[in-house]
Amino acid sequence: MLASIVSHGLALGAVYALIGITYNVMFSASRVFSFTAGMLGMLGGVLGALFISKLGLPAIAGFVLVLVCGAVLGIVTEIVTVRPVLKSIEQHLYVLSTLAFALMVQQVTAIEWGTEAQPFPRLIPIGPGWLDQQFWLPMLACAVTIVGLEFLYRRSLVGRAFLAIAEDSYAARALGLPEQRLRLASYALAGMIGTLAGFSGAEMQLAYFGNQAVLNFYGFVPVALGGMGSNRGAVIGGLALGLFQQAANFLVGGIFAAVAVFVVFILVLLLRPEGLAGAASARRV
C-alpha cells in the first residue's frame, strides 16, 4: 500500500512539478500566467501516442518530434496570445487570450483525436515490475529538467539573459538584450518542458484530451504553493501534492480526494497568497 502511494505519488507529482515549471518559465519571461501549460501536457501524451502508435515512428523519433511540436506551440502561444496583450494596458486580458487558445486546441483534440482515452505505447520494451517505467520516467524527466535549467540559468549566457529579463525587463533592454527574442525562446523552452511532462506521464494518464483541465489545475497548485517563479518551490510543491493526492485517494477514496486537495490549496493560498517561497509583490503606486 505504502509502496503504491509513494511510487504513484512521486510519479504524478513529478508530472505536476514539470507543469508547474512550465508555468514558471512562461511567467518569468513575460509576467504572464498562461492557461496553455495544461494544454502542452495533454498534447505531450496525445501527440506521442499519435506519432508512435498510430504513425508507427520509433520511440526516440516520436519523442523528439513531440518536443519540437511543443516548442512550436510555445512560440505560437507567445506570438498570438501574449505579445499583443502585453502591449495593451489591460493586464488581465492575457488570462483570457491564453484560455481561449487553450480551449481551441482542446476542442480540436477532442474532435479529431476522440473523447476516449487512448493507450500510450510502452516506450522501453521492459516488462512491468514493481518499479515500472511509468513511475520513474516522469521522475527522470523532472530531474533532467531541473538540472538542465540550473545549468542554463547559472552557467550559460542565454540562461542569465533569461534571468535578466525576468528580473527587470527595462534594465535588460537598456543593456541591449533582445527582449522579444528571449521571450520567444523562453516560451519555446516552456513548450518543450510541458510536452515532456505529458509525454513522460502518459503511460499513467493515457492519451486523453481531458488531461488538459486536470494538469492545468494540478500543475498550478505547485506554483501557487511554492511561489511564482520559483522552480524549486514547484518541484517540492508538485511532489508533495502528488503524495498528498495519492494518500487521500487511499484514505478517503475517490471523490473526496479531489475536495481535500482543493480545500488545502485554497487555505494555503488565503493564508500566504505569495506562496511559501514566493517573491514580494511589485510596487503598485
Binding site: S88, Q107, A213, F262
Partner: protein
C-alpha cells in the same frame, strides 16, 4: 452642457436631449417588444430557447457585474448555477426535506447563491487575477463532485427532478413570461447599479485600483456586496434552470457552460449591460441555427473570445458606441477657472490644520528609501518637495497617502495619528492626491471619472441604488453637478461626455485634479502634475494650485519643474538620498549651497 465634438459647438435645444434619451432607450424597447410578443409566433421550440436565454441572462447579468465591471475573472461561476438548481430541485422534490413550494424554494436558491457567491468570490480579495480564476475553477469541480457524492440528497449521478411552477407560470408560455419578467428585473437592477456610484467604483477598482483607494473606495466591502448580489441572481437562474430541464443531473453543468457565460459577457463588452445581454442571447440561440457546426460550438466560442481579446477588447458595446467615434476638436485648450473654487471647496469644516511627518524612515529590502524625514503641510500653503530621482519624493507622498507604512516615525493630522496601510481611509480625512502616471478609467467618460472622486459622499446604499430609490437619484444628481463644477474649475467641462482614453496626456492630469477636488480636500497631494505639460499649461496649472491653496487647502507639490516650484510655493523641502537636504522658503533654498551643488546646478 457643451460638447467638444467638432460638429456642434452650440448648445443643443431641449428637444434634442429628449431625443437622445429615446435613442438610448430604443434597443431596450425593441427587446421588450420582441420578448413580450414572442408567443405570437406560436412556436414552443423558440419558446424553450427563449426561456433558456432569459435564464442564462439572469445569471450573466450578475456575472457581468463581477467580470465586466469589477474585472474579476470568475471562470467557474457555473458552480452557483449548479447550487441554485439543486437547492430548488431538492427542496421541491420532498425526498430529503419536506416539500417546499416552488416560489419559496426559488428564494432559498437566491439565498444559497448569495452566500456561496461570497465564498467563491472571497479569494478575489487576496489573490491575483490568475490565482483567483483557478480557485473558481476548483470550486466548480467541488460543487459537481459534491452533487455526485451526496446521493441521499441530490440523487447522486441519477439526479433529481426539477420543480413545476403552478399556474400562471406553468410550463410553456406561462413559465416563459415568468423567466422574462425576472430577466427584465435583473436587467433593471444591474443597469441601476451600473449607473450608480457603486458601478463606477467597481470599474475604478478594475482599471485604476490605486486611484479608487485614494478616492476612499473600500474594495472588500464593495466586492463582497457584488458577489452577494450576483450570487443571488445565479441562484435564481439555477432554480429556473432546474424547472426548464425538468430533471437535473450533474453532467448538465459542464465547463463548457461556464465558458459560454464568460464569453457572452466579454463579447458583449465590459462595463456595458446591453452588450452582454445581446451576447448571451446570441450564444444561446446560435447552436440551434448552425446544426452541422454544433460539435464545434465550443471551439467557435473560444475562437471568438480570442478575436475579441486581440482585436475588439471592448466587444459589441464598443462597436455600437458610435457616439465616441465622432472626432474631437483638434486644438483644445485647457482654461481653468479658479474663481469657481469657492463653490467647489465649499468649506463646511473649520479652518484647515496641519499634516506633520516626524522622523519617517522606510526601507525596501536593503535600500533606505527615506531615512528620517520631517515635513509639515499647512492649510492654505503650497509646500514644494523636490530632489533628484530616487531621493524619496514619491515614497514620502505614498507614506502620507497611506500606501506605505514607515518603519519608524509617525504622521499626524492635527495632532492625531494617521493610520498606515489604509489608503482608502485618507479620503475620509479629506486628503486627496494625484498620481505620477494618471490612473484613470479609460473606458468611462471624463465626467464619470471625476464623479468617482466623490464616491464617499454618496448617502444611498447599494440596495437603494439597485432599486433606483429617491436617495440614489438625489446622490446622482448631486454628484453629477459637483463633477461638472469640478471639470469647469479645471477647464475641461467641454469634454465631460468624452471617453477618458481619448484625452491628451495634459488633459488627463487636469482631470485627476478635478477628481481630487471632488473630495473638497483639506489637503491635496500632487505627484508631478506638470510632467508633460506645455509651458502655457504649466502657468495655468500654477495659478490653479495657488488658488486652491488660497481657498484653504494645504497643498504638497512634488515636482521636477524648478521654475514652477519657486514661483508658487510658500515653503520648499529638498530631499536627497532619502534625507532632507534643506527646508525653507524658496529664496532660502535657491541660494542654499548644497542644494545648488546637488541638484539645481550653476
Amino acid at each position: 452642457m457643451m460638447d467638444a465634438t467638432a460638429s456642434s459647438p452650440a448648445a443643443r435645444p431641449r428637444a434634442a436631449g429628449w431625443f437622445a434619451r429615446l435613442e438610448g432607450a430604443l434597443p431596450w424597447l425593441a427587446l421588450a417588444v420582441i420578448g413580450v410578443g414572442l408567443p405570437l409566433l406560436d412556436d414552443s421550440y423558440i419558446g424553450v430557447i427563449a426561456q433558456r436565454a432569459c435564464i442564462y441572462w439572469i445569471l450573466c447579468a450578475g456575472l457581468n457585474l463581477v467580470v465586466g465591471f469589477a474585472g474579476q475573472i470568475a471562470i467557474g461561476w457555473v458552480a452557483l448555477l449548479t447550487l441554485g438548481a439543486y437547492t430548488t430541485a431538492v427542496l421541491t422534490a420532498g425526498k430529503a426535506t419536506a416539500e417546499w413550494h416552488p416560489y419559496l424554494a426559488l428564494m432559498a436558491s437566491a439565498v444559497a447563491g448569495a452566500v456561496f457567491g461570497v465564498v467563491v468570490g472571497l479569494p478575489a480579495l487576496r489573490l491575483r487575477t490568475f490565482y483567483f480564476a483557478m480557485t473558481t475553477l476548483g470550486f466548480a469541480t467541488i460543487v459537481t463532485q459534491v452533487a455526485l457524492a451526496w446521493n441521499s440528497v441530490t440523487g447522486g449521478g441519477v439526479g433529481t427532478p426539477g420543480p413545476v411552477f403552478p399556474w400562471p407560470f406553468d410550463p410553456g408560455w406561462g413559465f416563459y413570461y415568468f423567466c422574462l419578467g425576472l430577466a427584465a428585473l435583473a436587467t433593471w437592477m444591474t443597469a441601476n447599479i451600473a449607473s450608480s456610484r457603486f458601478g463606477r467604483a467597481l470599474v475604478a477598482i478594475r482599471d485604476a485600483e490605486v486611484a479608487a483607494e485614494a478616492s476612499g473606495i473600500a474594495k472588500p466591502a464593495l466586492l463582497i456586496t457584488v458577489f452577494l448580489f450576483s450570487g443571488a441572481l445565479a441562484g435564481v437562474a439555477g432554480g429556473l434552470f432546474s424547472s426548464l430541464q425538468s430533471y437535473i443531473t450533474p453532467d448538465a453543468f459542464t465547463f463548457d457552460l461556464s465558458v459560454l457565460f464568460f464569453i457572452a459577457i466579454l463579447i458583449g463588452g465590459r462595463g456595458s449591460i446591453m452588450g452582454p445581454l445581446l451576447g448571451t442571447i446570441i450564444l444561446t440561440a446560435l447552436p440551434e441555427f448552425a446544426a452541422p457546426l454544433v460539435a464545434w460550438s465550443t471551439f467557435l466560442y473560444a475562437a471568438l473570445l480570442l478575436v475579441i481579446v486581440l482585436a475588439i477588447p471592448g466587444g459589441i458595446a464598443d462597436l455600437l458606441d458610435y457616439k465616441n467615434r465622432r472626432p474631437l476638436q483638434q486644438h483644445r485648450e485647457i482654461v481653468p477657472r479658479p474663481e469657481l473654487l469657492a463653490h467647489v471647496l465649499d468649506r463646511a469644516g473649520g479652518p484647515g490644520g496641519v499634516i506633520e511627518l516626524k522622523d519617517i524612515a522606510l526601507h525596501f529590502g536593503g535600500v533606505r528609501a527615506i531615512d528620517g524625514i520631517d515635513l509639515e503641510i499647512r492649510a492654505g500653503e503650497v509646500h514644494g518637495l523636490i530632489g533628484p530621482n530616487g531621493s524619496g519624493k514619491t515614497t514620502t507622498l505614498n507614506v502620507i497617502s497611506g500606501y506605505y507604512a514607515p518603519g519608524t516615525g509617525h504622521a499626524r493630522l492635527n495632532g492625531a495619528d494617521l493610520p498606515f496601510n489604509a489608503p482608502s481611509a485618507r479620503a475620509g480625512y479629506r486628503i486627496a492626491r494625484t498620481f505620477q502616471t494618471p490612473r484613470i478609467v479609460g473606458g468611462a467618460s471624463v465626467l464619470e471619472n471625476v464623479m468617482i472622486g466623490g464616491t464617499i459622499d454618496g448617502r444611498g446604499s447599494f440596495t437603494e441604488s439597485m432599486l433606483a430609490l429617491p436617495r440614489h437619484r438625489r446622490d446622482e444628481a448631486r454628484l453629477r453637478e459637483a463633477g461638472m463644477l469640478a471639470l469647469a474649475t479645471v477647464g475641461l467641462d467641454q469634454l465631460g461626455a468624452v471617453r477618458a482614453d481619448r484625452l491628451q496626456h495634459s488633459e488627463l492630469r487636469f482631470m485627476e485634479i478635478a477628481r481630487a477636488l471632488m473630495l473638497r480636500p483639506a489637503f491635496l497631494l500632487l505627484d508631478e502634475p506638470a510632467a508633460g505639460l506645455s509651458a502655457e499649461e504649466i502657468k495655468r496649472l500654477g495659478a490653479l494650485i495657488v488658488a486652491i491653496s488660497r481657498a484653504g487647502t494645504g497643498v504638497l507639490l512634488v515636482e521636477h519643474h524648478a521654475d514652477l516650484i519657486f514661483e508658487i510655493c510658500d515653503r520648499v523641502t529638498v530631499l536627497n538620498l532619502g534625507k532632507v537636504l534643506a527646508a525653507g522658503t524658496p529664496d532660502e533654498i535657491r541660494s542654499h549651497r548644497e542644494v545648488v551643488n546637488a541638484y539645481l546646478g550653476g
